[in-house]
């Protein structure tokens, strides 16, 4: 009994050690980025480098808050993420309802085909999308047009996965509830809106979050389709990097500003994230 208790204890300690190590690795680059963002140019480039800032400064943040990052890019990203995730969840709910409740010739094939769209590399569509944007005349940075268009692109990108997730949530809702609603005189559409959607709300939330974060982090389409003040945070950061001024304290401050919104969303709503990813990948 004594030995088994001892092994159990050792077991526990080693498990915590390994997990702790991985947690440390996960958090370390972020922590160092945070520390760097509070240094100034001189303190960043020291030999040997230091982890903590010798004094806490806000030079980097000052630059970032005076740059296009906070003036335009953050708002553009916020607009794109919100618009596309709301539209995706709306459209995907309707489509998933069909896939979950109806069978018609080819419905399974259509469902698979939509899922198959996820295999198209984002890179494949860039030049054609540029052409479409250019034909529609939405490449000029002035006004919302460019961001409306890219939100539509993100909507198309997020739909397949969202349909998959939301359908698996709908599948788990017993059909008897709708039946009852229909008997009470609801139309199927009303049944969907009043009965099914409230019950599947966590699923919709999960899909919303995934699309929101993916859109926030998207880089390639934004690089190609957006110009000037219409750009988003990721492209804005890339421009910081490729410009002549090399200033890691500014870049890292920009990194912190960019990741903070999604980080907060994640920490507050982590359950929904976990759910979405598990639903999406394991069922369906």
């Amino acid at each position: 009994m004594v030995t088994s208790k001892l092994t159990r204890r050792l077991d526990q300690i080693s498990t915590h050690l390994v997990l702790g190590l991985f947690a440390l690795i996960a958090i370390f680059p972020i922590a160092y980025t945070l520390m760097t963002s509070f240094k100034n140019q001189d303190e960043v480039l020291t030999r040997p480098p230091t982890f903590f800032p010798p004094t806490w400064r806000f030079d980097g943040y000052q630059t970032v808050f005076n740059s296009d990052m906070t003036r335009y890019y953050l708002w553009n990203s916020l607009f794109n993420s919100t618009t596309s995730s709301i539209v995706v969840v709306t459209l995907a709910s309707l489509a998933s309802y069909t896939f979950s409740r109806y069978r018609f010739r080819g419905s399974r094939a259509l469902e698979l085909a939509i899922l198959g769209l996820m295999m198209i590399p984002g890179l494949t569509n860039l030049v054609p999308l540029y052409r479409i944007a250019s034909d529609l005349g939405v490449l000029r940075p002035q006004g919302l047009n460019a961001n409306l268009f890219i939100s539509a692109v993100y909507t198309a990108g997020g739909l397949p996965f969202a349909i998959w997730i939301i359908k698996s949530f709908f599948d788990s809702i017993p059909v008897e509830l709708e039946e009852a609603a229909l008997i009470d005189g609801c139309t199927p559409l009303q049944a969907l809106i009043r009965v099914v959607i409230p019950l599947a709300a966590p699923g919709l939330m999960s899909a919303f979050l995934l699309v929101f974060v993916d859109t926030w982090n998207e880089f390639l389409a934004a690089l190609v389709l957006l110009n000037g003040t219409a750009r988003t945070v990721t492209v804005g950061l890339y421009d910081f990097q490729s410009s002549f001024e090399i200033a890691y304290h500014v870049w890292t401050a920009a990194c912190v500003v960019i990741m903070l919104p999604v980080l907060l969303l994640f920490v507050l709503l982590r359950k929904r994230f976990f759910e979405a990813m598990l639903q999406g990948a394991l069922k369906g």
Partner: protein, 306 residues
């Protein structure tokens, strides 16, 4: 669309849904918006890309060249090299993320204290964008002022004093950053799968005298094999298509050592403005993705009984 025949999934449903002929068209209307968006912004651009891959602009003239772009690509050493780089990148990435993800999941599944906390921490890199993550890793390995590089110089000099600017070192940094970001995904998926494994089976195996490794390889692994396959498929596709980390860490350097096929596409098809060749590369990448998926589906299909 007159052949649209409703058939409900369950008998209960059949009563309620096929009852009203007036709602016959409802599923179609529900699907329509999604289908239109997908057709306009996914299917059409892809078909257009395939068309573009058979064209080329030379001396300001737009020409139809058939399969010449593909032929030329397959004779271009730097493209073949980028395919090899993609392979090396993907294989190491998939192996590392899937195996360490499963290991972490096994540990987390023991449900000691704080496992929820660990999971949250390990998951954080996943929500950080590739460009931001890349900037972080790039800064850690900056040759003279980078923190990790200076620690390596002090404590692990055998790793080399200039990782960022050597071919192998740069690739290792990119892979490390990718694994760092991707680990959350495989950990969570593995954990989800492990939680579906009935505890009794594992216990009975351990009563039979199986040790921890035997239990994992002979009992647990066969049960979660579908998930492992899904993870391998998804991480492979991810790594083949992604460029964000490479863009922000190495820009394909030094000397093309980290230029994967996807980055090559960005460079040729976008920066150098050769749309025809770029489209041809994208078609090749698409074909690789499809092949992987079909292989996966056929494996899954053959073992329906799982």
């Amino acid at each position: 669309m007159s052949d649209l025949v409703l058939s409900a999934r369950a008998e209960v449903a059949q009563r309620s849904f096929s009852g009203g002929r007036k709602y016959r068209w409802l599923p179609f209307w529900l699907l329509l918006p999604s289908l239109l968006v997908l057709l306009a912004l996914q299917v059409y651009p892809t078909l257009y890309s395939i068309y573009l891959s058979t064209t080329r602009v030379r001396r300001g003239e737009f020409m139809h060249v058939g399969l010449a772009n593909f032929e030329r690509l397959l004779r271009t050493p730097s493209f073949l090299e980028s395919l090899r780089t993609s392979l090396a990148y993907s294989v190491t990435y998939v192996l590392l993320t899937v195996s360490s993800g499963m290991m972490l999941a096994l540990l987390l599944n023991r449900r000691f204290k704080f496992t929820g906390f660990y999971l949250v921490i390990i998951f954080i890199p996943w929500v950080i964008s590739e460009v931001v993550a890349g900037t972080m890793w790039r800064w850690l390995f900056q040759p003279t002022y980078g923190l990790l590089q200076s620690w390596i110089n002090m404590y692990m000099p055998f790793l080399g004093d200039r990782l960022y600017t050597t071919a192998g070192g740069a690739l290792a940094i990119v892979v490390a950053a990718a694994v760092w970001r991707g680990l959350a995904f495989t950990t969570l998926l593995s954990l989800g799968a492990l939680q579906t494994v009935p505890q009794e089976i594992v216990e009975s195996a351990s009563l039979d005298g199986a040790n921890r490794f035997q239990r994992f390889f002979h009992v647990i692994l066969p049960l979660i094999r579908p998930t492992v396959l899904v993870m391998v498929l998804l991480t492979s596709i991810q790594s083949i298509n992604s460029v964000g980390l490479i863009v922000s860490i190495t820009r394909g350097g030094p000397g093309g050592a980290t230029r994967t096929a996807a980055y090559y596409l960005l460079q040729v098809g976008w920066e150098q403005g050769d749309f025809g060749t770029g489209a041809a590369i994208s078609v090749i990448l698409f074909a690789i993705n499809v092949t992987l998926t079909i292989a996966y589906l056929s494996i899954i299909g053959r073992h329906r009984d799982w």
